[in-house]
């Protein structure tokens, strides 16, 4: 297949994937899978009136959604979906994932601050604490995968999993990356910044119309992107018998995304002090141990 056709199919699949994630999110909230639901709420958000709160910070109010969506689209460009099909094969691909995710936090902070409301404010600080905390294990665990592949190219990382997938090679790393991915996308067990029950929507409490739509869409793409990252780094990317590469990638991504939302549905929200305590006291040391363990296994 010509690279163009390949690329076109992948982008179609990606957009479809985002819609599937939207349906999954609605399932985790309401318990029943209704396919037209997300589309309808998409119109509703479009039809809504734009509301600006009092004394909002004009600069941040406008830039935050665009920064949020832009950063996530950047992350997609470096993820390899198939053997040859990656938009930008960045020399420091692994590091770039985390570099982009930090700006998810910055945009949440911006929107939390710009809206000039206490709920959004508290949501913003929670997002800051949570995303700083959980991007530390992500960086360390990424170095472990880079160590195995001896290169930062994501394509090399996938190639290095030819013999044994990273999920079996470094299970501790996989578990940490999985939990951190949940925390970075603030999905239900970690949805402190946008807590429905406590902060009535937290950081997004005050957004309406197109801005809210951008954030909603951005978060769905973020969930899909991180699922693809989990697949690429730990579940052997496009490797699989019979089917072409990118079909495997999307299949595994679908499984990972469903597990994200399943955890969210059946667990209560984590407490703020536990959130930070588990990360700083157990997450980061475990990540360091993981690097140590992978080093030893490599040298054996």
């Amino acid at each position: 297949m010509t690279p163009f056709l390949n690329g076109f199919i992948i982008s179609l699949l990606f957009v479809g994937g985002v819609y599937v994630v939207a349906v999954l999110e609605r399932w985790s909230m309401t318990g029943n899978v209704n396919w037209p639901g997300p589309a309808r709420s998409f119109y509703l958000l479009f039809a809504q009136e734009e509301i600006k709160t009092r004394k909002h910070d004009k600069v941040f109010f406008e830039t935050a959604p665009i920064l949020f969506i832009g950063v996530i689209l950047l992350t997609i460009s470096i993820l390899p979906f198939g053997r040859g099909s990656v938009m930008v094969d960045l020399g420091t691909g692994a590091l770039f994932i985390n570099a982009a995710l930090v700006y998810v936090m910055v945009s949440l902070l911006m929107v939390g601050w710009a809206v000039n409301g206490v709920y959004a404010m508290v949501g913003g600080w929670r997002a800051l604490a949570q995303l700083i905390a959980y991007s530390m294990p992500v960086v360390m665990v990424l170095t472990a995968t880079v160590m195995r592949a001896e290169s930062m190219f994501l394509t090399d990382i996938v190639e290095s999993q030819q013999s044994l997938w990273n999920i079996l090679y470094q299970p501790v790393g996989f578990m940490l990356f999985y939990i951190s991915a949940l925390a970075i996308t603030f999905l239900p067990p970690f949805d402190l910044p946008v807590a429905e029950g406590e902060l009535a929507g937290g950081v997004w409490a005050d957004l309406t119309g197109a801005r809210k739509l951008l954030f909603r869409l951005g978060r769905l793409t973020l969930v899909l992107t991180l699922s693809v990252a989990v697949v690429v780094l730990y579940l052997g990317g496009w490797m699989g018998p019979w089917l072409p590469g990118f079909v495997w990638t999307f299949l595994k991504t679908f499984l990972v995304a469903t597990s994200f939302f399943a955890i969210g549905r059946y667990m209560p929200r984590i407490r703020h002090d536990h959130l930070l305590e588990y990360n700083w006291k157990y997450g980061v040391p475990l990540a360091l141990y993981n690097i140590f363990q992978v080093g030893i296994v490599l040298l054996l």
Binding site: K55, D57, V59, F60, L90, G91, T92, L95, F96, N98, A99, V102, Y103, M105, V106, L109, M110, W113, N116, W125, L128, I132, S135, V139, S151, M152, F153
Partner: protein
């Protein structure tokens, strides 16, 4: 001759300077913290333009976290973080302007009149750079990196010791 690299360099340089200038011009403190973040990202982009890819990505990543924390501290310790009262928070203005301008002129003078020798056009590929940088760190300047690590440790312990209110914990 005008190469793309020069154009990009100038663009990102101007962006960095404009954000840097706004840091001290805005009355809203959080906006100044995040415009410092903007200038740091522009500096990261400068690194990327100059093909130091690892450093560029690292700079962009690190500065994101650091400047957000700075924004938190700005809010805690500034009198009016929202900048709605537009107070003027500076003093001895003209002295500092004079110092800034003098230093800039001095450096540009040195830059223009120094003889830099031949400019190298070829640079190893990013992959190669990472490997060489790794080798460099683990071979020749292992010592420097160790001390950097230890200084970070002492810095952490020192800042915690300073920040905690030991006195009040004894009272309770």
């Amino acid at each position: 001759m005008i190469s793309i690299q020069l154009i990009l360099l100038i663009i990102f340089g101007l962006v960095a300077i404009w954000f840097g200038w706004r840091v001290f011009m805005t009355s809203s403190m959080v906006r100044s913290a995040l415009s410092l973040l903007g200038s740091m990202v522009a500096i990261g982009a400068l690194f990327l333009v100059m093909e130091a890819e690892f450093l560029g990505v690292l700079q962009i990543m690190m500065m994101g976290t650091e400047m957000s924390i700075m924004a938190v501290f700005m809010m805690m310790y500034m009198m009016d973080p929202g900048g709605l009262g537009n107070m003027d928070m500076s003093h001895q203005k003209n002295l500092s302007i004079a110092a800034g301008v003098a230093v800039t002129v001095l450096i540009t003078g040195a830059v223009l009149f120094a003889d830099w020798g031949t400019i190298v056009t070829q640079v190893p590929s990013p992959h190669e750079q990472n490997r060489l940088l790794g080798m460099e760190i683990l071979k020749r300047s292992m010592m420097i990196f160790e001390t950097a690590g230890v200084t970070i440790l002492t810095g952490m312990i020192a800042s915690i010791a300073v920040a905690l209110s030991i006195k009040s914990s004894r009272e309770k």
